[in-house]
Each structure stands twice: as structure tokens, then as C-alpha cells.
Symmetry: C2
Subunit: 484 residues, 2 copies
């Protein structure tokens, strides 16, 4: 029942005016004010009565930003190696994505959003196939889209619980008793099951995910949690080659703790149904596990009938020089579930076929993802393949790691534990206060970076980060360290 | 580091080809095949190895769909009174939204997504103001965006817990002991607190939200839950005017149960920190509470220092003839928190000023919403105001309710409990099986509708649903009932 005027308006669509969107990457950072500058502070003042601003550092101009450079509201141009907390695969305003925004498929996916679990778009399977199946971790095929990393992890864990209980019932669906007791939250319908997480882990901020998250107290304090086991995670010394004995002992100690925790919870009749672990604890301080550690962890899970979930929300998408950080573990069988989000634009998880939930409406919600994000990811994957960006990131990463080692050698009184894979990297400062001062200093010089863990600095450039950007990065890091 | 070719490609943006997007609303439904038809079944077969399809009913053609009509992959044109589970405010491909997709603000918000909590777009406060503040529930101003209804509810509850514990500390932030104990999930840092929900409620499917959700066993079975109290929710008899005594007694009994549950959990040292309730239990069977019930519920919450959360995820956005379903309760003070999603395009919640979390990074995650959704909502609100769609829905709703009563009178052996506000309505069938058969029948005749609760049919048309659509709807309902 649209008016004729409204219908005509559509036919009179303007030729898209994209003149205001940047089309060239700046040659380097340029700073006009402190950060945050007066314009950012003014906007913050305006926003504060309407929406919390406690963690806002600056306001960004997303039309002027391009490639590896973020331009803020004050016109400061910053080389961005933090990329919206590691979630821009191709930097800002990538021309192929801007162009893709003209596609009618894309427009219709935006303006009328489907309830994907029941009435998906007819092009949804194509999108899944091109955007996700084509980059699935080795040995995995089936995927479930979700909106973000937290909902990916929540639903991965639900899938694990459902599989665990189905096994207990000898492969049968829930019986009448299970359904009835679930409604009053008693056993067996509402089971006593747990998930094992790790110290230093970050898996999201819902109440369930906070129960397996142990990166920072401020995330967890005042929030009730499930009584679930948390095991030790390795804390290696770097360089790895010089600390083999110490690091191997770390692996052993942590695996022993995992085995003990599983047994302890079993004894309490609070079985561990899933283990969830990041390849690199990317929020908790860039803590790595060795391939040997993860291989044994997978074996422990398999031996105990526990679902092995690898959380690649921050590590997935190519920054480590592989699409999936777990791929260099060379597992003989794939992880049971691999979750993703951030650089993958859409949240979701890949899973092994035996975990497929047979009954409808169990892994379900209104949106279950977003076709417009899948469509964008399809373009991102096209560009990654066409421009060979993962292989390129591996090479740029080699240069990055060499420069990082050099930087540490030149500033060994302040910088330690240089580590990384690809351009996914970190280094440590003596304490949080020095790290935080350093971040401020680097930003003031035009390098946008961020901390992680107690005293680490993390590097999370996009996949269009190239060798000239590495040079600028280390020039600014060196300057900032000297000015500290 | 973009090639010249890539840069040129951007300047050569094609004039947008939207010829494939429908621009006219069909004059009525037209059916070509059964639903799902052969094309839908073929796509389903293709999708099944890649992504679960257990709950998929049909595949929709989102380019051909328009206004109140969804066209499926087989070319069937269905009048849609279910609207992607109540989440299309302006139906399909609204010309104003299609046009808005050309805006450079919108394009940049899509192709490079900010971490909103730290580096928001410089136009974010404007968007908040136009899209959300301008339609805030009476007495509320501050808002927090999130991605979906579940994350809105999760964070509303976290806000309640944080406020409750801050009160316990006499208004102070967490001390060292709280921070330390939170990391090992012991008291006081990880408190024993609970949330009171209601039988028949639906608040989402994360583990926390499932702990206060009691609509269907299949949502809950096999998933561990928090031990939180669930109270009785009124089950009225209709028409309300003829059943005053019975319905008043329902209110009393349920309020008594709420008081008892709060006391019981207090005694267990497991204090209720929040009550979460829907104005209409819209997933659990369209169960209503009276203004008197909600007023007293709010009073109980206030008397006990409990945060009163109204979940308007399905009821918000105008379908009831008000932007917010709770507005006709005429509360003297607003609810403490009102959550939303679905028709509001973005998830989020409004909250009273005393609940504002003072410390940064406590209500936080990577994306915290999506500026592209906020931008769309801004246009939706513009259209709602310009076309006076809420007032119009109120009038169309009056016609709808009259027709619904007439339909029930004409089919009183099958249909009962006709109820609703605006075009947000429901009716009951003798049991689930008859209801499900009816839904199939209605769809086969060209009316796309959906069930809720045990044996109810729900109506959730969009705000562009007008009187001629009401006529078609009731013509088809009548036919379907006769053919049952």
C-alpha cells in the first residue's frame, strides 16, 4: 500500500555519491592534535547523556579512513595495527567492498532481514559455500552462522551438551522425562555438565562465556558464574628455541592439570562435556600453546568423550599467516568445533558431522547470523584469494617478526617476550602502567595499537598491511620507546 | 597499498542496478506450488551438507518480495503476517530503505565496522539520538546498543548484577578482594545472585537466558541452567470483560508466587537481583498481564531493591499500536530497563540513570551493536513518523480485533481466546496438532503465519499492514478454517 510518490522515489534513485569516501591510502601518519582531540571530546560530551562513553578513546571518521589508516574526528591520520580489535580483514573502505555495496542481492539482504533458521534467502547456500565452505578448516565442512563470537561460542557449547546427553541416552533424542524435567530445571532434563576453560582465556562476555573466561577481573566481577573447571595454560619463555626445557615442562604441568580437573569434576558428578581453548590467548596476553600441547589436549578430550572446541574468534582469518591458527598443529583429525567471528565478518562455527543436532529448533534463534555479513565475507574471501593475501601476510609476517626481535634487542631493558606468527604479534612491558604509557605515546606519534593481558602490547594489522607499513610501524615503535 | 586498477575500479562504480528489486506490492497472494515447493526443496538439498536445515520451511526470494508480501523460491506470493518472526518493521524492500542504502554514511558503516565501545563513528551519537532517543520509552533516556535481543537481555542482567553489588558495597566500585575472588569464581567477587523469570517466558537462548526462559522444553533440554526462581504468570480468560473475577484472581495468585519466590531465594542467600518480564509472552503463547499486575510487580521489585527489566524484544516497535507495549500500563515511574531488538533492527536497552555503570569495560564487547543497523533504524523511524504508522496501526488494529472476534464467533468450535493489541494478536486452537495443520492450510492458501506457545496462532504483521490486508487475511483465515 505504497503511495505513488513513494514508488516513484525508488525509480529516481540517485547515482551513488561516493565522492566523500576516501579512495587512496595516505603515505604515512599525520597528527594534528592530541588524541583524543577537541573534536572527539566534543562528540563524547554530546554522546555521554545518551549512551555510555567510559571506554571511548576517540571518534573515527569512517569516510576519510582508508586501507591501513584510520582518520579520527580531529583529522589525525593513524597507522592502525589494532584494526577495531582485530576485526577488519581488508582495512578501511576497501574499494571492492564499497563496490559490492551496489549489488541488489546485498541491498535486499540489508533492508529486509530473514529469520535464517526458517525462511532463508534463496542465495543463502551459495553464500555459505563461497564465503565459508571454501575456507573451512581442513577436515571440517558443516558450518552454523551466528551473529558474533560470543553467540558462536554459546552455541558451540550447546551443541556439545546436546551431543553429550544424546550419547548418554544411547543416541536417542530427549524422552518425555527429559523434556518434563527440563521445564522445571531438574535432572535429567537439565543436566549437571560443565565446560573446561583455561586461565588467561577469553571467550566472550555472556554469563556462560564469562564462566570460562579468565583474562581480567573487571570482566567477571559482580557477575554470577557456573561452577566450571579452569585449568592452567602454558606460559612460555621466549625465544622458544632457547627455553625448550622450561616450555616443555609448562606443557606437561598444564596437561596434568587438565586431566586432574576432568577427574575432579567427574567425581563431583559434574562431567566435563567440552573443552574450549584458543590457539593463542589473544585477549589474555597473547599466550601460545605448542602443537604438542594441543595434540595431547585433543587426545585427552577424545579419550574422555569430551568435545574439543577451538575458539578462533580472534586468531581466525589470516593474520597468523594461515586462515586458521590451529592448522599448523598438524592434527590427524580436525578439532570437533572451530568457532570464528571478527575478521570473518560473521560469527559462526564449523563442526564435525557427528555433532550435527538432529532435532529442529534446538540450535536456533531469530536471526542466526546475517546474510548481509555473509555477502560481505564472500567479497572479502574473493579479494583474499585474488590478491593472495594470506601468503603475502606470511611473508610480511616474517619481516615483522625480524623487526620485532631487533626492536627488543635495541630496547631490552623495557621490551621482552617478543612473539608472534605472521603479523599477529605481541611484546611485553615491565608492567601495565609502562605498557599503557607506551600505548598513549605510540598513538600520539600516529601508530594506533592496543594492549592485551596484564602488560602486553598486541599487533593486529589487517591483511592489506604490507612491507612499507612494517617499516613505518617499527620506526614509530622505536621513537615511542625512546621517548618513554 | 592498492593497485591503480583497484583504485580506478572504485571511480567506475556502476549506476546501481536495482531493476531486479521489486517496486510494487502484489494485489493479493498467488500460489503456484505446495509450500515448500520443488525449488525450495532443491535448495534445501544443496544446503543440507553445509548448514543445518532442520527448521527451514521455505527459501524466500528477497528481491521479488515487497511490502506485506513474501515471494518464495517457487514464485509463490504469500501475504506475510509473521514477518520473519516479527522483525520487519516496514515489510519487504521498503523504497525508503532501498534508497537509503545509497548513502555514503551507510556504505562506510557496512564495509568497515567499528569496535563501538572504543572507537565509534563520529556520526554515532547523531544516529543514537535520531534512531533511539527520539522513540525512548517515557521517562527513559540513556540507551546501550547490542547486536540482538539475547545480548540485550544478557547485558541488561549484567547491569542489574553490577548495580546490586555496588549497592551492597555502599556505592563503591569493586575492591581488591572482589577482584581477586572474581578471578577464582568465589564470593564476594562472584556473587550468589539470581534473576526471577516467569513460566511461559522467552528471553533468548544463551545459557543465562535459557535459565529464565520457560516457553518450550525443546529449547531447554540437555542444557545446564542457573538455579533461578521461576514464578507463575497470569493465564487470562477472554474476552477480558466477561472474566474479570477469574483474571483478577490470576493476578493475585501470580503476585503472591513472586513474593514467595523472592523470599525463598533470599533465605537461600541467593538474592533476586532482577525480575525480567515480557509485556506479552509472545513466544510462550501470547499471554498478557494486566496493567494492575505489572504495576504491582514493579512495586514488589522497588520494595525489594530488585531491578525491574521489561523485555520488549518482540512487543516493541509499534505492532501493539504503541511504540512500547508497556506504555499503556501508565506506570508512575518508568521500568528500570527496557530491552529491544527485532523490529528495532538493532538490539539494545534503555535504562534509568541510577543503573549507569561507572567503570569502563564492564558492559563491553568488540562490536556492541552495528552502526549499519542503527542507520537503517534511523530511516525506519523517519518513515514511521512521516507516515504516522503507529497511529495507523492502532486504527488498523481496531479493525483487526473486530474481525478476529467475528472469526472466533463463526468458528467457535475450533477457535478460542481471541486476544490482542493493535495488530499484535493471537487465537487458540484445541491443541498443537490442529494448530499446526491450520498453519499448513493457511500457508497453502497464501497466508504466511506462525504458531506460538502450546496451541496458539500469532499475528505479527509489519507496520505497513493496512485495512485491505486485513480483509485478505480474514478471508483466508475463514477459508482455511472451513477446509480444516
Amino acid at each position: 500500500m505504497l503511495s505513488r510518490a513513494a514508488r516513484q522515489a525508488q525509480f529516481a534513485l540517485p547515482v551513488r555519491n561516493v565522492a566523500s569516501i576516501a579512495t587512496r591510502e595516505p603515505s604515512g601518519p599525520s597528527m594534528k592534535t592530541k588524541v583524543p582531540g577537541p573534536a572527539s571530546l566534543e562528540i563524547k560530551k554530546k554522546m555521554d547523556p545518551l549512551h555510555q562513553t567510559t571506554s571511548v578513546r576517540l571518534f573515527a571518521d569512517f569516510e576519510k579512513s582508508f586501507g591501513n589508516y584510520m582518520v579520527d574526528a580531529d583529522g589525525n591520520t593513524l597507522l592502525d595495527v589494532y584494526t577495531q580489535i582485530s576485526s577488519l580483514p581488508l582495512g578501511y573502505n576497501h574499494p571492492d567492498l564499497v563496490k559490492a555495496a551496489a549489488n541488489p542481492h546485498f541491498i535486499t539482504s540489508l533492508v529486509s532481514r530473514p529469520a535464517l533458521g526458517s525462511f532463508p534467502r534463496n542465495d543463502f547456500p551459495d553464500g555459505i559455500s563461497k564465503a565459508l565452505t571454501s575456507v573451512a578448516p581442513k577436515g571440517l565442512k558443516a558450518v552454523q552462522t551466528m551473529l558474533c563470537g560470543t553467540s558462536a561460542n554459546e552455541n558451540a557449547i550447546k551443541t556439545a551438551f546436546i551431543w553429550y546427553m544424546t550419547n548418554r541416552r544411547g543416541g536417542n533424542p530427549p524422552d518425555q522425562k527429559a523434556l518434563e524435567t527440563a521445564m522445571v530445571q531438574n535432572q535429567p532434563g537439565t543436566p549437571r555438565l560443565s565446560v573446561l576453560g583455561f586461565h588467561g582465556a577469553f571467550h566472550g562476555r555472556s554469563l556462560c562465556m564469562l564462566s570460562v573466561t579468565r583474562s581480567k577481573a573487571i570482566h567477571k566481577v559482580d557477575i554470577p558464574a557456573f561452577d566450571w573447571p579452569i585449568a592452567k595454560f602454558p606460559r612460555y619463555k621466549y625465544p622458544l628455541a632457547d627455553n625448550k626445557q622450561y616450555n616443555d615442562a609448562q606443557d606437561k604441568e598444564c596437561l596434568k592439570d587438565v586431566r586432574e580437573k576432568i577427574a575432579e569434576w567427574k567425581k563431583k558428578e559434574h562431567d566435563v562435556a567440552a573443552i574450549i581453548v584458543e590457539p593463542i590467548q589473544a585477549e589474555g596476553g597473547d599466550n601460545y600453546g605448542s602443537p604438542a600441547f594441543f595434540k595431547e589436549l585433543q587426545k585427552i578430550a577424545a579419550d574422555n568423550g569430551i568435545v574439543f572446541i577451538v575458539d578462533e574468534v580472534q586468531t581466525g582469518g589470516g593474520g597468523t599467516g594461515d586462515m586458521w591458527a590451529h592448522s599448523h598443529w598438524n592434527l590427524e583429525t580436525p578439532p570437533d568445533i572451530v568457532t570464528f567471528s571478527k575478521k570473518l565478518i560473521t560469527g559462526g562455527y564449523f563442526y564435525r558431522e557427528h555433532l550435527r543436532v538432529k532435532e529442529g529448533y534446538r540450535i536456533y534463534n531469530t536471526w542466526m547470523g546475517d546474510p548481509s555479513k555473509l555477502f560481505l565475507l564472500e567479497k572479502v574471501i574473493e579479494v583474499i584469494k585474488r590478491d593472495n593475501l594470506i601468503e603475502k601476510t606470511k611473508k610480511v609476517g616474517e619481516m615483522f617478526q625480524k623487526e620485532l626481535a631487533k626492536l627488543q634487542a635495541n630496547h631490552s631493558s623495557i621490551v621482552s617476550q617478543a612473539r608472534g606468527r605472521g603479523t599477529f604479534a605481541a611484546m611485553d612491558f615491565p608492567n601495565a602502567s609502562v605498557r599503557d604509557q607506551f600505548v598513549e605515546k605510540a598513538i600520539s606519534l600516529g601508530l594506533h595499537c592496543g594492549g592485551c593481558g596484564e602488560k602486553s602490547l598486541r599487533f593486529r594489522p589487517s591483511l592489506v598491511y604490507d612491507k612499507p607499513h612494517v617499516e613505518i610501524t617499527f620506526d614509530l615503535l622505536d621513537k615511542a620507546l625512546k621517548q618513554l
